[in-house]
Amino acid sequence: MSRLASLYQEMILSHNRSPQNFGDLDPHTHHSHGVNPVCGDDFHLYLFVEDNRVSKVSFKGQGCAISKASASILTETVLGKSIQEIIPIKDAFLKLISDTASTEEKAQLGKLKIFEGVKEFPVRVKCAALIWRALEDAISQQHGQISTE
């Protein structure tokens, strides 16, 4: 597979075209706003956590195909999981795209592994990471805003 084809895999393109869990979530228990000031990617992530599980999740905003697909797949991944289950996945994903993940860490990522191609494109790592940084911020109860710069 060419570097380009490994970056823009069909699943990524399809989530870009038809993002899952896209829109507002009201009420929500957790929220963060992620901004990549250099390229203008700008997403809000909302979680509704009850009994320590994510029972509802959504995101809204705009950005490139990589950042949008990453957000869409994040929402599918965290739905129904506990915060304790989410944290190691988030950590493994951030390592995957910066090419520092171990085999064990990769093993727990499931379909998120399709983002591995991003590591070949250093300037795009931030695009894939943005929503996961927002997740990190939201579950740390900061309820704030994060920036990739």
Binding site: L13, A65, R124
Partner: protein
């Protein structure tokens, strides 16, 4: 065919023959003539300037003085003391925004800019407004992507202290009628600052004919090195303005009781200047002068119209800015493909473009887009580069269809 054949003059294309470099509005590549001049200067002529205690220093000082005069001639200024070397356009605008506002404006006066300015021609003026109790006014642009002259006339008045406008927009490519602007502004007693960063490599500039009060540009967009730029200012204004940065080289005498300042241009050149870069800028001006603006403009027109013809046929493209009276660039978006995805895919085909907000976020907001892709053209581009761009863009459309 009016296309120039200067690609071989740029060593970067020997190192990367496959590259179509279409990001010259951000920074131009450097011709051998400039690279050789800088290398030669460091190898056999370098010393610091304005001391003259030994021959090497005397010659280096002369080289800088010669470049100052070359700049004066290049932009048609009356006197070389009106040419201030800065670190670039941004520094030049900061100098004027601060010193002019502080010295020659009164609280309550207005600074008039436009919707399409680069952040460098917004933020320093915004800060000057905060600092000196001035008010920032924004002139809109037309639906065609040009300065709205009716709105400009309506916004301009005796309350206007500074008009600060881009000569050529780095996003829209439109050419501002700066001579008319200066005439209208002067009727109201306002000073005019022109951001010429995008203009100097593409159109001939004569500041006396334009009658602007200040004009600035960067060397690195004019085939010269980065780290040096020019502020032109009318001598009587520069003389009346208070000093900006202070330190060595800009003084006449210093004592702990009282310091007196040097005359122009040194008054505004605190600290050791970028000496080799100034000399490199001199070589860049020589390079441009040897080609001549008639040939440059014919080349620009040939490349730009060919690019527009090809780009406008692409499925789902929206091109911003006017189609005529426009400089060498096209900013665009494609339906369904984000500009950063476009840039990444183009990079795989060795096509270098810019994608993002182009340091013009208020203009992005005006068009309700987060980002645009931009292809910009220069003397070394050929129609082959445009073909390479179009073929890579077709690939983008294929991926995102």
């Amino acid at each position: 065919m009016s296309e120039l054949t200067l690609r071989q003059e740029f060593p970067i294309f020997n190192a990367h023959p496959e590259i179509a470099y279409l990001d010259s509005a951000a920074s131009t590549q450097k011709p051998r003539m400039v690279i050789d001049r800088i290398q030669g200067f460091y190898e056999s002529e370098y010393a610091t300037i304005n001391r003259g205690l030994y021959e090497l220093g005397y010659h280096a000082t002369n080289n800088v003085a010669k470049t100052r005069d070359a700049v004066r001639h290049f932009i048609g200024a009356k006197d070389s003391k009106e040419i201030i070397f800065t670190s670039g356009t941004t520094a030049a605008i900061n100098l004027v925004a601060n010193s002019l506002s502080q010295g020659l404006l009164k609280p309550g006066q207005e600074i008039l800019i436009s919707q399409m300015e680069h952040h460098a021609n917004i933020v320093p003026l915004q800060r000057a407004c905060d600092q000196y109790q001035l008010r920032l006014k924004i002139c809109p642009i037309t639906s065609n992507g040009e300065l709205d002259m009716d709105a400009f006339k309506a916004l301009l008045g005796p309350q206007t202290g500074i008009v600060a406008l881009t000569h050529i927009s780095n996003v829209l490519g439109c050419i501002t009628p700066i001579k008319t602007i200066c005439h209208l502004a002067h009727e109201q007693g306002a000073y005019v600052l022109i951001d010429g960063a995008q203009a100097v490599a593409h159109v001939p500039v004569n500041v006396q004919e334009i009658d602007c009060d200040f004009y600035c540009f960067s060397s690195h967009k004019l085939y010269g090195p980065s780290g040096v730029g020019v502020l032109y200012g009318k001598a009587n204004l520069l003389e009346a303005m208070p000093v900006y940065q202070s330190g060595g080289d800009m003084i006449e005498t210093v004592s702990f009781e009282k310091t007196t300042y040097a005359d122009l241009p040194n008054k505004f050149e605190a600290g050791t200047p970028p000496i080799a870069q100034i000399v490199g800028l001199g070589a860049a001006i020589e390079f441009v002068s040897q080609i001549g603006f008639d040939a440059i403009q014919a080349h620009d027109e040939a490349i730009q119209s060919y690019a527009y013809e090809r780009l406008s046929q692409l499925k789902g493209i929206q091109i911003f800015g006017p189609t005529s009276n426009k400089s060498s660039l096209h900013s665009f978006v494609l339906k369904d493909a984000h500009p950063h995805d476009i840039a990444t895919i183009l990079d795989q085909s060795k096509v270098c473009i810019r994608a993002g907000h182009h340091c013009a976020q208020p203009l992005m907001s005006h068009y309700e887009v987060a980002a645009m892709a931009r292809a910009s053209y220069s003397v070394y581009n050929t129609s082959n580069d445009i073909d390479q761009l179009i073929s890579a863009l077709s690939q983008v459309i294929e991926v995102f269809q």
